[in-house]
Symmetry: C2
Subunit: 104 residues, 2 copies
DNA sequence: GAATCATTTAGGCATTTAGCTAAATACCTA
DNA sequence: TAGGTATTTAGCTAAATGCCTAAATGATTC
């Protein structure tokens, strides 16, 4: 949760998630959409990955990143619940399933 | 929106919002709940205020902070909409309406 | 194996952040 | 006005962040 909100604090990282919402993209294609260098983007990907918000898969010499919606939903709905915002909690159910890092 | 997510990136600041969800609290009472100095807390309040998430009102020698739910809801629901999370906007009940800033 | 493309790591620099103590300000009460 | 409480500002340090270029790694193809 801490790591998720930390990752969400940078506008580029939030935009990356928006781009990934409709499907996977390679690191290079993602990087081309932002006015910073590829190494800088690589750092942003690392932070998103560390938060469990995306994952990368090697495909023919490229890395395809995909969003991890459940981590994002869990964090946002969880926080909204705590501050008393109606948040459609029907998706919050899964808890330790597939990607529940957040340990570090 | 940038400022809201920036403000939400620190766990103390998120907890402050949780504490304020059920009513206003003085800066001192809030500060007593966290293991950092009062000046440090004052800095956190300033950041929350700058993001439009809280406001302070002077009352008898103290400052009572209250949460600004609409700013928080607008930012969270706005982002959730962009990443395609069902955000149940029916719960956006406009508690005290009339402060749709977000001029960031 | 060599060339090439894609991505990450390394190293460096400037800025921001989070924390502290000490001091200043503001506000209330006697 | 003086004293006391509440909060913020000032000034500092240490660490983290965000960015860069250059180099290293990995994977593909010839």
């Amino acid at each position: 949760m801490n790591k998720v909100f930390d990752a969400l604090s940078h506008p580029i990282r939030r935009e990356v998630l928006e781009l990934l919402k409709s499907g996977g993209m390679t690191a290079g294609d993602l990087a081309d959409r932002f006015p910073v260098s590829k190494p800088t983007m690589s750092g942003h990907f690392a932070k998103l990955k560390e938060a469990g918000l995306i994952q990368g898969e090697n495909r023919r010499g490229s890395v395809v990143y995909t969003i991890n919606m459940s981590t994002l939903e869990e964090a946002l709905h969880g926080f909204m619940g705590r501050v008393g915002i109606g948040s459609a909690p029907d998706a919050v159910s899964q808890r330790d399933g597939l990607n529940g890092k957040e340990s570090t």
